[in-house]
């Protein structure tokens, strides 16, 4: 199986975790050990320090590793001009090897909706740029539901969905919005992969690890032996994320 991890980060978090991974080289060494070919990676400074600086650090970190590491930048409201306007921002993304965006409205003190982030969200819908929502820690389910009601065509990856009692939050969004996918890094429910595959289709799941908060191996082994077809397993492991990035028009 080929694995393309949709959720991992580098950098030293403000609040320590047992084994942070400071650099892209360290991340790649652990990916080698685990047998993970590619990863969509963000930098913890995007959340803990500041979006513009974090985005720059991420671009620098992956610059020599673009064959295996694809970048994920962060967005935020831009009324104060802290980021380039969408056209330039997207051009910068393409140049830096960044293919997805994430939002952290709770720790960054804003409401993720049209009034605050309309221009970049509209650009994302038009260009089919995936938005990663770390729901539990940084967004909240009410906000995720409201955002998708406002932007139903947004390509959205639900991440950090929490390990406990996820189904009743996730399935309504998977059912209602065709472009919503689930990062399975925290979706460790026994039989959970099979349940999504059966009711919504395996194309709605993306292999993720949340490394280095979480180990690489858990969801690798769970997916390897999930009771779905081999073709679906491979799609979740890498193909679905590759498809999303292929469909993107940066």
């Amino acid at each position: 199986m080929r694995f393309f991890d949709c959720n991992c980060f580098i950098g030293l978090p403000s609040n320590a975790i047992p084994r942070p991974v400071a650099t892209a080289d360290e991340l790649l060494a652990r990916m080698d050990r685990a047998g993970i070919e590619r990863a969509l990676v963000w930098h913890v400074a995007q959340k803990d320090y500041g979006v513009p600086t974090g985005n720059r650090l991420l671009a620098q970190a992956i610059a020599g590793h673009r064959d295996r590491l694809t970048g994920c930048w962060a967005i935020m409201p831009n009324q104060m001009g802290e980021l380039p306007e969408p056209e330039e921002f997207c051009a910068n993304m393409a140049e830096a090897g960044v293919r997805a965006l994430a939002a952290f409205p709770r720790p960054h003190n804003y409401v993720l909706r049209r009034e605050s982030c309309g221009p970049i969200l509209e650009a994302m819908v038009a260009r089919r740029i995936p938005l990663i929502l770390p729901v539990t820690s940084a967004v909240g389910w009410d906000a995720a539901y409201a955002l998708l009601a406002e932007f139903p065509d947004l390509v959205c990856i639900l991440g950090n969905v929490n390990t406990w009692g996820t189904v009743r939050f996730v399935f309504p969004l998977l059912e209602k919005y065709a472009h919503v996918c689930l990062d399975i890094s925290e979706y460790i429910l026994d039989g959970g992969i099979e349940a999504v595959a059966e009711r919504c289709g395996a194309r709605r799941m993306l292999f993720g690890t949340a490394f280095p908060s979480r180990p690489h191996g858990g969801m690798m082994l769970a997916l390897k032996h999930a009771e779905i077809s081999a073709r679906d397993r491979q799609a979740v492991a890498a193909g679905n994320l590759e498809r999303l990035l292929r469909e993107e028009d940066l």
């Binding site: 199986m1 975790i17 047992p18 084994r19 990916m31 080698d32 050990r33 685990a34 047998g35 070919e37 295996r68 390990t163 406990w164 009692g165 996820t166 189904v167 009743r168 925290e186 460790i188 429910l189 026994d190 039989g191 959970g192 099979e194 349940a195 490394f211 280095p212 908060s213 979480r214 180990p215 690489h216 191996g217 858990g218 969801m219 690798m220 082994l221 769970a222 390897k224 032996h225 009771e227």
Partner: protein, 276 residues
């Protein structure tokens, strides 16, 4: 990219799990499982047959579970007894004590000795019942376990006033004959959990919710020793394979993995009279 056995290169055990989903040489005992309804979530495999199916595909030889029905006066232990007796080689139960219903507890404890084919110990969840582990309302059950040297699986979390480090330590000091399974190992204060295990030879570190934090298993292993650690996942809430995969990711030895997956559990279950 280098290629080798995924997750844990060079490990025959990992290679077996990767290839077939289970290991012939490393059986697994899931020492923290449940049955029953879960009001806060949908659980696809919450029935005994579903539980055993999940065990089969991951090479889990036996699971020790606590049934939520035990804590409900309207339901009692009948669902637990039926589940174990339907799968006597695969399942054993902890009697789940509800400190709010002393009459129910008294009745269930009175039946316990006649149900040793079903029960191997007690389960307590002080956080959910909002009664400290050290409270008088748990005394009768803990004394019962102490007299018999039973396993007691307790939910334990750092920062809790019901089952935090202080309550755990006081309980371990008072009851020295029980085998105290620290469910979740005082998540997320791994250093304190290891210290508690070092200070109390009858304390065991149960790994539900621990396995998902990279580096936690390594800390517990280094500071308390793998002979004090037990595999568990809250099955059927959290799956076996994710737990095994997380464990295989730890930078510990294959010998440690064998201790955690089966050797320690086999010892405890033999002491409880289970043929393993």
């Amino acid at each position: 990219m280098k290629t080798g056995t995924p997750i844990r290169p060079g490990s025959k055990t990992a290679a077996e799990f990767w290839r077939t989903g289970r290991s012939r040489t490393c059986p697994v005992y899931n020492m923290h499982a449940h049955l029953g309804d879960f009001p806060s979530m949908y659980v696809p495999r919450a029935d005994p047959a579903g539980l055993v199916h999940s065990m089969d595909v991951a090479g889990v030889r036996m699971s020790c579970f606590a049934h939520r029905a035990d804590t409900m006066p309207e339901l009692g232990t009948v669902p637990t007894i039926e589940a174990v007796r339907a799968f006597p080689d695969r399942l054993r139960a902890y009697l789940w004590v509800n400190p709010h219903y002393p009459d129910l507890v008294a009745r269930e404890l009175a039946e316990f000795d006649g149900l040793r084919d079903v029960f191997v110990g007690l389960k307590v969840h002080p956080d959910s019942h909002e009664v400290p582990l050290t409270d008088e309302r748990y005394r009768r059950a803990l004394e019962f376990a102490e007299e018999r040297g039973l396993m007691v699986l307790s939910h334990t979390y750092d920062g809790s006033k019901f089952n935090g480090p202080e309550q755990v330590r006081r309980t371990l000091e008072k009851y020295t004959s029980i085998r105290f399974l620290m469910g979740h190992s005082l998540k997320i204060n791994w250093h304190e959990a290891a210290a508690v295990a070092r200070d109390h030879p009858h304390a065991y570190l149960e790994l539900t919710g621990v396995l998902g934090q990279w580096g936690a298993v390594d800390i517990l292993c280094e500071e308390a020793g793998s002979d004090r650690m037990l595999f568990g996942t809250d099955l059927p809430i959290y799956g076996n394979h994710q737990g095994i995969g997380h464990l295989l990711s730890a930078d510990i030895t294959d010998k440690d993995i064998h201790s955690i997956c089966h050797r320690n559990a086999e010892k405890l279950l033999r002491e409880a009279g289970v043929r393993v």
